[in-house]
């Protein structure tokens, strides 16, 4: 435990990292998921197998990649395979333990939107789109989602369902035949949400230090369910903060190295 000052993003990244079990095979996107995955690898989970959708299996980057195509990933990987292979034999093949996604919008059944804000054919904001997210959400044994908690992101109705969580809730995911369990944790800068075992509705189960239930409810675009017994997320330790900041600094130096 530490009383060091830290940002809400650091809290979110560190908590996401903590939830990665050592040895898990982890399909990871760029950005916060990649930072959390590498933080886990550099702290309590050294045997975590990082898989990037560019086809790098067992990547051990010393700095965070800016893109999934960074040379850093293939040079440190146990194996590098083609894109058709990583999606068919590895992801669809059911070999990945944990998928790690960000999102622009999320609904109460942990379905996510990373495609458009507004109407698909006349969007207010055109986002990058699915990439590998649909299949990560569908085929990893388990999925973890991280995003900043606010009303624009936590919405009553998605503008577009890019990647399925629990769809209409209950057993609707299984009925569609998706093999993975679905999202088991949503980690935000305010707390942790987990799906109700039966209804699959996201429920606030842990608050980050200094955050109130009211704050989280206000930042959520639907009437948020709150667990009867609410946990308190442990504050980042100074060890965690120091490893994360070192990683981010190394990364910033490396990415500024050119142009």
């Amino acid at each position: 435990m530490s009383d060091a000052a830290y940002t809400a993003d650091e809290m979110m990244t560190i908590q996401a990292a903590r939830m990665i079990r050592n040895g898990v095979t982890l399909f990871v996107g760029i950005g916060l998921p990649s930072a959390a995955a590498n933080l886990a690898r550099l702290t309590h989970a050294p045997d975590t197998v990082l898989i990037y959708e560019s086809g790098t299996i067992g990547a051990k980057p010393t700095v965070l990649p800016l893109s999934i195509g960074d040379g850093e990933l293939s040079e440190t990987a146990d194996a590098v395979v083609s894109i058709p292979e990583i999606f068919s034999y590895w992801l669809q093949g059911g070999r990945i333990g944990l998928g790690f996604l960000g999102a622009a919008q999320i609904d109460k059944f942990a379905n996510i939107n990373s495609t458009v804000i507004g109407d698909y054919n006349k969007p207010k904001v055109r986002l990058p789109g699915s990439g590998g997210a649909q299949e990560i959400a569908g085929f990893c044994a388990e999925v973890m989602i991280t995003l900043r908690h606010n009303n624009r992101a936590f919405v009553k109705k998605l503008d577009f369902l890019t990647s399925g969580g629990y769809f209409e809730g209950g057993d609707s995911r299984q009925k569609l035949g998706l093999p993975g369990k679905g999202p088991t944790n949503v980690i935000t800068d305010l707390g942790i949400l987990t799906p109700d075992p039966v209804t699959k509705e996201l429920t606030l189960t842990s608050l980050h230090p200094g955050v109130t239930v009211e704050q989280v409810v206000a930042a959520t675009g639907w009437p948020l369910k709150v667990a009867a017994k609410l946990d308190s997320t442990a504050a980042p330790t100074s060890a965690e903060l120091s490893v994360l900041r070192d990683l981010n600094e190394r990364t910033a130096r490396a990415h500024a190295g050119q142009a």
Partner: protein, 240 residues
Amino acid sequence: MTPDLIYDQLIGAGCVKKIIFSWGGNPGVGSLHRLRDAVENGWPHPIEIEEHAHAGMAAAYSAGAANLPFGLLRGYIGTDLVKYNQRIKFINCPFTGVKLAAIPAHRPDVTIIHAQKADRKGNVLMWGVVGVQKEAVLAAKRAIVTVEEIVDDLNAPPNSVVLPSWVLSAVCEVKGGAFPSYAQGYYQRDNAFYKAWDVVARDRETFKAWIDRHVLGTKDFAEFKRSIASFNNEGATSHV
């Protein structure tokens, strides 16, 4: 699959009628602003989009390479993409009844890729993140490969990714041709340029000035690279 900055440049310059893609961003940075401007505001003109997920694109290229009429995958089920892309259909497994997605094979008129080496016969060797490049070449009616260097002997390790000359239409030596991306074993990804591009592309006028000066205003790739080098030295934000 992932339109990189080159697509943003082509779209902004008005050269694109339609894009087929699965992830349209500036990797690690954010938006492709010219793509967004075209889709959101129809500037410089509206473009047609055919949108997939990565796995669907990969399956469609593989199907093209294998001369199958469609690619088969689990996926797309329950998502909104199927409402907007009529080229995603579903079939049932004739043995189990399981519902699977089917995507028509990609058969590009021309595929252009960049690789590391070719030998004098035109056999091409690539390594590192090879992506879907082999499939894109084999699916295409014609394929052009630019390489970092042409050598006497590829010295290809066993089972490496080699494209024999007889599946290619042309091989050209273009040193630095992956710019601003990287060529493993030759140079790194120019991550700073990707970040700088965000500033250039965000604004129509800044973009136009950039493309006029560095692309339309240069006569070949060598001059483009010299022009870009001065751009980099002056700094992205201070200069177009």
